[in-house]
Amino acid sequence: MKKQLLPLAALLLCSTSLSALAGGEKVPDVNFLTWPAAKYQHYYETSNYVAEGWRELGLTVNLNPQPFPNPMLGKWFSEHDFDAVLSVLSGAPYRMEPDFFTNAQFNSANSSPGDWNVGEFSDPEVDRLGLKQLGLYDPEERRAVIYDLQAALHRAQPELVVAAVISTTGINTENVEIPGFEAAPDGLRSIWNLTKMTSKTGEAVKMGQTIDQASFNPLAANTAEDFINLSLIYDRLIELGADGKPRNRLAESYNVVDDTTIDVKLREGHTFADGKPVTAADVKFSYDYFKEWEAAYYKKYLERLESVTILDDGTLRFKLTEAYAPFILHTLGQVFVLPEHIWGSVIEDTGISKPQEYRNTDPVGSGPYSLKYWKEGQELYLAKRDDHFMKPAADLLYVVFGSAEVVGAALKKGEIDISLQPLVPTVVEEFAAEPNIKLYRTNSNGYMSARYKTTGPVFSNEALRQAAAWAVPYDQIIEEVLGGDATRSASSIVPINGYWHSATLELPQYDIEKARKMLADAGFTWDADGALHFPE
């Protein structure tokens, strides 16, 4: 019986390979992880438009909307359970550091669950350039490599960049003005704009948003909103400029001695809000403290810091374990300087087991504002410090609302002066007609993309990824889904990040014919049903 079957089996094998000659295996269905339509309509619709384009190439695309944050984040960042995912990464100042959206996201070393290389992408050229730029402190030199890195990513297409989103916020010009507004990626929320906000009424500037502060403990905080207010109360050595370049803050200057040694000279004569001077000892204490207690958010940025030593009264030496150019922005630009005379004894004083448990409801920092009061879930009052070198113009009052729509209504009625919450696209036009409301359009440095799982059965094929980029109706998405509030970019470092963005890369257009030709040239075929088959 078995013997009789053998020739038949051989025949079957033969016929399979014959059909493979005619056109390889059928490309499996695409599991496209995306956002729930009800709450994140424009994200969902974006993925829908992308999927429609891909279907024209002969792919079968199944949209897989999952509740956000859970389980979507889990499938996206931990399980990598997708062929493609609609990645929406918000803009934040520290993400202007060019390493973040390139090497950190696509270096093959960062593929473990929870890390940023969610598509498990691996490319020797990208890895090589990624490591190289980490060791270059000179911006000009580094930029050349960052350009090459963007070109390599553009060629390998580990993701399909859809658009960089623009958000619109507004202020009531009867009560406030922002002289010298800087077009920062975080718009009105940027420290450079907050400190410029000037009240015409003599009262605090009232700013509406929907999110309340979670924590004033710099070691426990881990949301973008928390960090903004913490950075108003606590100083950092370096502050990221609106243009993406480092500006000195508590540091008077810094000097890269060699690849692993950085000297920082401290600003003289500055004090904490309680009148005690800010010393080099406080700075050393802070870095050691964040590292010793493993403050979750900072762990990654302090990993390469070996030691901090005080050279003389006003100078500190940071010794690294290996060259790490993002150290300036990611570490010096993020770690807060804490007063040692408070935090040094906080554990003994309060009987907690870790500083992360400390509520710190009465934070004492050296920053441009100090916390006057905080009514949780309602309002937060920051009083300006006139003796601070950043020269804050007015007191700030954050007001928490239940929804973005109500924030808009409150702005219109004059109950608040500023909407920090992006205005809903549908009311933007209506608000533009109001004489006393000035709108600010902010180009975020975050972006939307379709991230591929490059170790998966579909998108491990580079030619397919390259062709897919030409099958997406970009302009339609920007006009119809995002209400015109978006810009295109060929790179994950989007145009607002002007210094590092490579403008020479070709922008893929919506051109199905070209995309199909690219596939055909790479050996892809289509069967009678129009379904796409891999090359043999």
Binding site: G74, A214, K299, K300, R359, V399, V400
Partner: protein
């Protein structure tokens, strides 16, 4: 009586225990890794582990459950994942704001509802009755968030009579003290959510009172009172209305838990910093300890209210005896 009391309290406690257990596991059975929402999966892996250990989320589920039960027995509701503060304090602060909104509007809604219900039943078949019954049925089936949004649109934005939300004007009261609750500014902010809540809460007592009255009016003793020549007003207030109050009075404590739970919607619409808004925020950020404690509070109010209603029956209605 005493035996009855013990039995009823025992039942109430059992109900709460079941509720607490179901809730504990329900929240943790949500799809995906339950810790993923507390601890951002985008966070560095080692950092995630450290955070899990900090909250005890690295222990097996049954162990977490027993720790939770043991803590509940000593009224320790844990600490909020979000603010790292004891949950009891978090909830206490917000509960006051909810009660200053809910209690007065409940009382007013019940007073208006009961009186109007009695009146329309007394004047059976009037045009006012038809209108009010229609209105009450319509209001009761209107989603309260929609009613609230319409009220904001009309009274706040169009007419500019009331603020769009909040408990006081921003920046006016740095502290939530008695002075704040007694200020005109507070009343100005209270007015709109109060009216919406009254409009919404009034339907149930109105319809209940009306139907009870209708059956009371048909009773023989009303007939007898009329035959005795008791004045109509006296029959209305002393004989009919009093006797119709019973179901209403006993539903009042039961409704309390329901009304506090209902504050979720109204507080979100009006940015009212009470328990309801806290629950919405806490669910959004999967702050289990806060959500569980808030649900537990509502359950205690409901179960306690039901128990109270049971006892009230005996006091208010001498025909009922406990065995």
């Amino acid at each position: 009586m005493r035996q009855f009391l013990i039995k009823r309290i025992w039942h109430a406690l059992l109900t709460l225990f079941v509720m607490v257990s179901v809730m504990f596991f329900m929240f943790r059975m949500l799809p995906g890794d339950p810790t993923a929402t507390v601890i951002s999966p985008a966070l560095y892996p080692k950092a995630q582990e450290a955070l899990k250990a900090q909250f005890g989320l690295d222990r097996p589920l049954h162990e977490q459950y027993f720790i939770y039960l043991r803590n509940l027995l000593v009224f320790d509701f844990g600490i909020s994942f979000h603010t790292l503060r004891p949950v009891a304090g978090e909830i206490g602060n917000r509960l006051i704001n909810t009660l200053v909104l809910i209690l007065p509007s409940m009382v007013v809604a019940y007073a208006i509802g009961a009186f109007a219900g009695a009146m329309v039943a007394w004047k059976r078949g009037s045009k006012v009755e038809g209108f009010l019954v229609l209105l009450a049925t319509a209001l009761q089936s209107t989603p309260v968030f929609w009613l609230g949004m319409l009220a904001i649109l009309f009274f706040s934005i169009r007419l500019d009579m009331f603020p769009v939300g909040h408990i006081v004007s921003p920046g006016k009261f740095p502290e939530a003290n008695l002075q704040m609750y007694l200020s005109l500014d507070f009343l100005h902010h209270l007015a709109l959510p109060f009216m919406v809540n009254v409009a919404y809460q009034f339907c149930f007592p109105f319809l209940l009172m009306r139907s009870t009255m209708l059956s009371t009016i048909g009773e023989d003793y009303i007939e007898l009172a009329r035959m005795k020549g008791v004045p109509e007003n006296r029959i209305l207030y002393h004989h009919a209305m009093r006797n119709s109050m019973l179901p209403l009075a006993t539903t009042l404590p039961m409704i309390l838990g329901w009304a506090v739970a209902g504050s979720v919607v109204i507080e979100t619409v009006f940015s009212w910093p009470g328990l309801g808004l806290l629950m919405v925020e806490a669910v959004g950020r999967s702050d289990y300890p806060v959500v569980q404690a808030a649900f537990l509070l509502i359950a205690v109010l409901t179960v306690g209210g039901t128990l109270l209603a049971d006892l009230m029956y005996g006091i208010l209605d001498p025909r009922i005896t406990y065995k």
